[in-house]
């Protein structure tokens, strides 16, 4: 399934946050979105998933809903958004409850999601008993349980420490190796974009406009190989060059406000 964003503008009262964004997320592609703080990345993702109504412009999906997919556009949240009063498995089951599914299918989806994220032994734990990384894995298992066609990820790793972030990046790589789920991945972190994305959209400071879309030629699985480093360093330098000026200016703007 493809996601098409056309001529999208968004304002919160007088504050223009996104300005005339055109973007196509291709089937099977991982598209990272980077940009300075407050430039409208979360807003863009909210609009793409239908939980924020845009001021102007259109968002559409294109293509058939895959078999077994219950929620074509599905989020993974920065703060995990788990219900603290539900166990791990109940948190995953929550998003299946309103679908007419045979009980066995329901159980199988919960179990599959939990096993893939290495959470099966912890299925009866409460979120408060888990580490941050485990909590985000519950968030990912919950997303996988509905077999999404498009994943929207809003800084899914930024609440985690550096080591946990590495581990979860491996989980994502594994996911995209097997499923090729289309994804829009918002991040602050160049390393995440360079490890995970096929293309990187650089947004300007607020109001967010697309400054440039940079393609990473190296396939995801070969990015840790020594041969890939020259290209990646080049992409990184390009991205940092684009981001730095924007970030500096955004920084000063916030300081003045």
């Amino acid at each position: 399934m493809r996601l098409l964003i056309s001529d999208l503008t968004h304002r919160y009262d007088d504050l223009t946050v996104l300005d005339r964004i055109d973007l196509v997320l291709n089937e099977g592609e991982v598209l990272a979105v980077i940009g300075p703080s407050g430039c409208g990345k979360s807003t863009l993702l909210g609009i793409a998933g239908g939980i924020v109504a845009p001021s102007a412009g259109r968002v559409a999906v294109d293509g058939p809903v895959p078999d077994g997919c219950l929620n074509p556009i599905t989020y993974v949240f920065q703060d995990f958004a788990l219900l603290p009063w539900r166990s791990v498995e109940e948190n995953v089951a929550l998003v299946l409850a309103h679908h007419p599914l045979p009980a066995a299918d329901r159980r199988a989806r919960v179990e599959e999601g939990l096993r893939r994220m290495g959470l099966w032994e912890f299925r009866q734990a409460l979120p408060k008993q888990l580490s941050g990384g485990m909590r985000q894995r519950v968030g990912i298992a919950r997303a996988l349980a509905v077999r999404p066609a498009i994943l929207l990820l809003d800084e899914p790793l930024s609440a985690l420490d550096a080591q946990t972030r590495e581990l979860l990046m491996d989980d994502f790589l594994d996911l995209w190796r097997r499923e090729k789920t289309t994804a829009l991945y918002v991040t602050h972190n160049l390393d995440e974009a360079l490890r995970l994305a096929d293309r990187v959209v650089v947004l300007s400071r607020r109001p967010g406009r697309i400054r440039e879309i940079v393609t990473i030629e190296e396939p995801r699985d070969r990015r840790l190989a020594p041969a890939a480093q020259a290209h990646l360093a080049e992409v990184r330098a390009r991205l940092w060059h684009l981001m730095k000026a924007e970030a500096q200016m955004a920084d000063r703007e916030i300081a003045r406000a």
């Binding site: 998933g49 599905t74 929550l94 409460l126």
Partner: protein, 273 residues
Amino acid sequence: MPDPINTPTSTQSTLQAVRFRGGGFHPRRHPWAALAAFALLIALWEGTSRVGLASPLFLPPPSAVGRALAGMIADGSLWLNLKASLLRIGVGWSLGTLGGLTVGLLMGVASVARAVGVPLVSAFFPIPKIALLPLFILWFGIGEASKFATIGFGVFFPTVIAVYSAIDSVPRNLIRMAQSFGLPWGAILRNILLPGALPGILAGFRITASIALILVVAAEMIGAEYGIGAFVLMAGNLMQTDTLLAGVMVMSALGLTIGALLSLLERRLLVWR
């Protein structure tokens, strides 16, 4: 590596231990202190009566209060009066809570209900509800109904406020999450708003239980044959201060019991916190 402090070195004479300065400002449990203070207080009280510092008519010693309490238990007057009060609290509190939950929930989820409700609640909330008892007596008669109404009314408004602010305090991101997975409205209410609001609602119960206790005693003092409030008032009129204090003890025990039950409920229902 050798122990660097106990190894003689040329700088030994300039060594200075780092002094501990991190003590205090840290709550610790002293389980016996409370008990000891309590025992001391009772002993002092008993002592002042025994040596004649206080007239037993105005301040009867704890032993006399204990005897009065035992007498109440023996002749059945304790249960007779306690039963009457418990019934009033039970019915009045349940009515007020049921109404308050319904209205509070509506105000929590529907902005129109909130726009209508907030000014009304703000206007009624500060009225000392006991002031309405005479009116309720005119409406419902001197019997039980007017007492139920007073207690129910007193419980209703704090419950409304507790419920809708508890619903407000449920993190919005959880609701957005549910919407993003396509959960229908009813499922969001059942699975997210209500459980998320439960801590605030239970905290509200604590407040309304104590309001119900105050109101039942006040209402019984204004007009009731039986009930702990009526019992205490009567004992005062007859100058039976030992019986009066025994009645007060019963109220204290009642309040403690209700509090303990609520704590139990919270521990049961809120293990996830």
